[in-house]
């Protein structure tokens, strides 16, 4: 666990237009905002670099993964992405050939941009298709249609990307089992290395929340699939993808052999990561950090840091304060709880020996009651070495996870 590897997450909080279901930290911006944000990011990177980077005074870490997420990071011209990566490479050790992913959305991509991304070192793409049905895409408020995705995917392959994820969603307004199966089949025709299949969750604060919580007044919107249909779609996902050689390694993630997303797997397995940018999260040495979520405040914080006072921050070891708005120091109980509810998201579950090695306790001495109950309810399984969710346990994973909070 305490190896020197670190994942890096870069948050790009911009998009062309906010989608109806989106509750992530992102918003449309004018062109002149972008360089200011990139400059702020670079300042943040350089300060953390002095702490955790190549010559880090706290620890010298090696980058295992980079994930540029959003928002829609591909809204950024390649020169900006280049500056960001360049600054990361200046500050951190990239010698171990890390997985470098950028999230992108059809409608913001073209062959030149993709080739640039490839040339500056990005080696993995995550493309947000969501659905192959144009009417479903329209209902979601997406800016692209299926044809644009098909073109983008071909361009990506032509640019040399050999590790591509496609995001799709089930339980969409107006979606039927047939249309979902069609989406799955179309996705398979591209033979991506990785597929993320999420079930739409209507989050508070999104337009969908208002529409579908008062549906009688909004009946012009397509209805959400009923529960049985929704579950059928969910089961279809594993069935169809499985029959095409994709194995499910996490609740919502499928890949061809050896093509699991290393970055996201890090989240589930307690690896360290540093997040840069607005509202991003970091996890280092049993401490979770959350960055400022207010855009202006983030930019102003960066502008207030000059070359001289940056040194001061570092030597007073208060450097995390300028960009951080929330710090949570995990107690042993917190760490144990997280180990369980994160680890169980992986299909292979958690290794009992790992629990023992990390916490110096037998897992049954901590969770005996819960584990016995959940086993009896048929939600988890203990095969002797690992404990993992059963198919029924996956369906109600929240229910299972909440039992493991101490």
């Amino acid at each position: 666990m305490n190896d020197n590897n670190v994942g890096i997450y870069i948050h790009i909080p911009f998009c062309v237009k906010k989608c109806n279901y989106c509750d992530f930290l992102s918003f449309p911006v004018s062109e002149e905002i972008k360089p200011a944000y990139v400059n702020a990011l670079i300042k943040e990177i350089s300060i953390y670099g002095k702490l955790y980077g190549k010559k880090g005074i706290i620890r010298k870490s090696t980058v295992s993964t980079v994930f540029i997420g959003g928002g829609t990071p591909s809204i950024m011209e390649s020169k900006y992405i280049y500056s960001i990566l360049n600054s990361l490479m200046d500050n951190f050790d990239f010698s171990k050939n890390p997985e470098i992913t950028i999230e992108c959305n059809p409608g913001t991509l073209n062959l030149i941009k993709l080739s640039d991304y490839r040339n500056i070192g990005i080696n993995r793409l995550s493309i947000g298709l969501q659905s192959a049905s144009d009417s479903e895409l329209a209902a979601l408020g997406r800016i692209h249609r299926y044809a644009a995705f098909a073109q983008s995917f071909k361009d990506a392959r032509r640019s040399g990307f050999d590790n591509i994820n496609i995001d799709i969603m089930s339980a969409l307004p107006g979606q039927s089992e047939a249309s979902y199966t069609d989406t799955l089949n179309k996705v398979l025709s591209f033979r991506p290395e990785h597929i993320s299949a999420y079930s739409l969750i209507i989050e508070e604060g999104t337009p969908f929340f208002d529409i579908y919580n008062n549906y009688s007044k909004n009946a012009s919107y397509p209805p959400l699939p009923d529960e049985d249909t929704e579950r059928e779609m969910y089961y279809k996902t594993e069935e169809i993808l499985g029959s095409h050689g994709y194995s499910r390694y996490e609740i919502s993630n499928y890949s061809l052999p050896g093509r699991e997303c290393i970055h996201n797997t890090g989240y589930w397995t307690g690896k360290s990561y540093i997040g840069f940018g607005l509202g991003s999260s970091s996890y280092i040495n049993h401490i979770r950090y959350k960055n400022i979520c207010d855009f202006k405040q983030y930019i102003n914080t960066a502008e207030d840091i000059s070359a001289e006072n940056a040194e001061k921050y570092i030597y007073h070891n208060t450097c995390i304060k300028p960009f951080t708005e929330d710090i949570t120091i995990l107690s042993e109980k917190d760490s144990i709880s997280e180990f369980m509810f994160l680890g169980l998201r992986m299909m292979k579950g958690i290794k009992k020996a790992n629990f023992k090695a990390l916490f110096n306790k037998d897992i049954y001495s901590v969770y005996g009651v819960q584990l016995d109950k959940l086993k009896q309810q048929g939600l988890i399984c203990d095969n002797g070495t690992n404990i993992f969710l059963t198919p029924r346990g996956i369906d109600v994973s929240n229910y299972v996870f909440s039992d493991f909070l101490l």
């Binding site: 994930f67 049985d228 929704e230 998201r345 369906d395 109600v396 929240n398 229910y399 909070l405």
Partner: protein, 604 residues
């Protein structure tokens, strides 16, 4: 201050329909008599209970003493006792009235006489108090003081031509009220040298001083060191401190003598020793007879109160004991429920009273409570000739042992503008009401009288009344007696197990409808489990309604994005908290608020 001439004391209260400006007038009187400067005035100084301020209603009777320099050049001591206006708190009103010699009747210049105006006036007249009418809110555009004066004379039958016409809000003509208090309310009569005779009209518990007794001295004198005896409970003690009521504080003084209103502390630790309505006398020189006290008011509405956390049962018991000291109309006795464990069956004057007590227990005593559906007292006549007073539906004997049952019936007076008469009568008919009479007042309003079963009005009658009259109807009721009725016990089965705390008594004609709605409501309240849960309503062994909570199919977290684990953990914690607030019945977890669902059956 020890030698006060009785002629210079005025003990009075203010009575009014809710929202007619009683507390505002009290504030103004306190301000004008110079006890507080206007800068120190916090709106409604007498309503010092947090809950009272929030709800804008007066729950506890409060007392305050001020000094007024009248136009005749003399200084008068005013003991003002604030009273609640809501029908549920008639008992409190009655207690305050016993300590007074006169009452100011506040009537809204726009709304005129309302149902509670009448109820409170009748109470005051019962106590032989002089009632002085005051027309308030004359600065409202819709004010019509002449009409209201005529209403007071016609409906109540007291002279009102020279009633002060004021705005308590702006302070306009409040001096007229002060002069009327001096000139029209009689000074107390009583002999300061006679044996002590003091009426306890309220009390509260203080951790340092013990029980603080609020009393009106009818005869005699009491001071620190006086040995006292409570005539009904027989408890005796030695007075530690006497004093009077400042605004929100106790001000000690040398003695209290005949005609005065004040408090006594005597290191009384046992809250049961002082009962409101009892007479305090001098242990060494006792009076021959106790004061009449007042009629004990019997609770009309009962429900079960249980601590959400079973371990808090002793805390709930202590809290109820202390609250009862402060609110003699609350009654309670221990009971057990299979579903809810150990708790108390509590009696209240009405539903608002129940809500207030529940909130006070939760806020002031930091308790998390589960409340069962409120019910009334039924009289169960058994075939062997015995009669049971049933407060808990679970105790209903087997139907084969029951000859017949009776339920309490009230006489309700509803005052409403004529355009809503139809809607209100329809509502009363729906609630099994029996029409008695209707009288027109001033041509535009009517006083409708109905007999209604109490169990039809304890839930939401008042809300229904307000919504069907666009807020114009006012309402009061008094218990009339018991009548035979075709009643049945409705049981609720969750996952085939009867949940005793959800049973309730209902009229046979509405049982099916209520059972169906109850099942629908519980279906909404009970979260999905891993298995399917049938919810059934049954009378005896006959199931009359059924709903099903489907098994939980999906409960998955969305994308765990950008490594924001903390946010996801918070969601899981919320879910875990939710599990904690459940009651386990068999293998079903029932949320606490489901036990109150019967209250909301008529909501759409």
């Amino acid at each position: 201050m020890s030698h006060i001439n009785q002629n210079k004391i005025r003990n009075f209260c203010i009575i009014a329909h809710i929202d007619h400006g009683k507390s505002t007038l009290a504030d103004r009187i306190i301000e004008k008599t110079g006890l507080l400067t206007s800068r120190e005035m916090q709106a409604q100084v007498l309503d010092n209970m947090e809950l009272e301020r929030e709800r804008g209603i007066t729950i506890k009777a409060q007392a305050v003493r001020t000094v007024y320099k009248a136009n005749d050049g003399e200084e008068y001591i005013f003991n003002l006792i604030d009273t609640p206006g809501h029908v549920d708190f008639n008992y409190e009103v009655s207690r305050s009235l016993a300590a007074c010699d006169g009452a100011i009747l506040v009537v809204d210049a726009a709304q005129g006489i309302e149902a509670q105006t009448l109820a409170n006036v009748y109470l005051a007249l019962d106590h032989d108090l002089d009632v002085i009418p005051v027309i308030n809110k004359i600065d409202l555009p819709s004010a019509d003081p002449d009409r209201v004066v005529n209403e007071i004379e016609d409906v109540i039958g007291i002279e009102a031509q020279d009633a002060p016409r004021i705005s308590a809000k702006s302070g306009l003509n409040v001096e007229d009220v002060l002069e009327a208090i001096v000139n029209k309310i009689p000074a107390p009569s009583g002999d300061a040298n006679a044996p002590l005779q003091a009426l306890i009209f309220d009390s509260l518990y203080d951790s340092y001083k013990g029980v603080i007794v609020f009393c009106r001295i009818k005869n005699g004198t009491v001071k620190p060191g006086t040995p006292i005896k409570m005539m009904a409970t027989g408890a005796s003690a030695t007075v530690v401190e006497v004093g009077y009521f400042g605004a929100g504080q106790f001000i000690p003084c040398d003695e209290l003598s005949a005609g005065m209103v004040g408090y006594i502390t005597a290191s009384i630790k046992n809250v049961k020793d002082t009962s409101v309505g009892d007479t305090i006398t001098n242990a060494q020189n006792p009076c021959t007879q106790a004061l009449p006290g007042y009629k004990k008011v019997n609770p009309m509405v009962y429900c079960g109160l249980y601590p959400a956390d079973g371990a808090k049962y002793p805390d709930l018991r202590d809290a109820l004991e202390k609250l009862q000291l402060n609110d003699a109309s609350l009654s309670y006795e221990p009971e057990t429920s299979i579903a809810l464990g150990f708790g108390f069956r509590c009696g209240f004057l009405g539903l608002l009273h129940l809500e207030i007590i529940q909130e006070r227990l939760e806020r002031e005593y930091n308790l998390d409570l589960v409340t069962t559906a409120p019910g009334v007292i039924y009289k169960v006549h058994k075939s062997d000739g015995t009669v049971i007073e049933l407060t808990n539906p679970s105790n209903l004997p087997d139907p084969s042992e029951i000859e017949y049952m009776e339920e309490p019936v009230v006489l309700a007076e509803i005052m409403v503008t004529t355009e809503f008469i139809g809607a209100i009568m329809e509502l009363c008919q729906e609630r099994r009401g029996k029409y008695i009479s209707m009288d027109y007042i001033e041509g535009t309003r009517a006083l409708i009288k109905y007999e209604l079963p109490l169990n039809e009005i304890i839930y939401d009658f008042f809300d229904a009344l307000k919504s069907r009259s666009r807020g114009y109807a006012s309402f009061d009721y008094e218990l009339k007696g018991y009548e035979e009725s075709n009643l049945v016990k409705l049981d609720i089965l969750i996952n085939k197990e009867e949940v005793d705390a959800l049973s309730f008594i209902v009229h046979a004609d509405t049982a099916y409808e209520r059972g169906r709605k109850m099942c629908e409501k519980l279906k909404e309240e009970i979260p999905r489990h891993l298995f399917e849960i049938p919810i059934q309503a049954a009378i005896g062994s006959k199931v009359i309604a059924r709903e099903t909570v489907k098994a939980m199919r999906k409960d998955v977290l969305a994308k765990c994005y950008g490594g924001d684990i903390t946010r996801k953990k918070k969601l899981l914690e919320k879910q875990k908290e939710g599990k904690k607030r459940m009651r386990q019945v068999g293998n079903v977890e029932i949320p606490q608020k489901a036990f109150m669902s019967v209250l909301k059956l008529d909501e759409n």
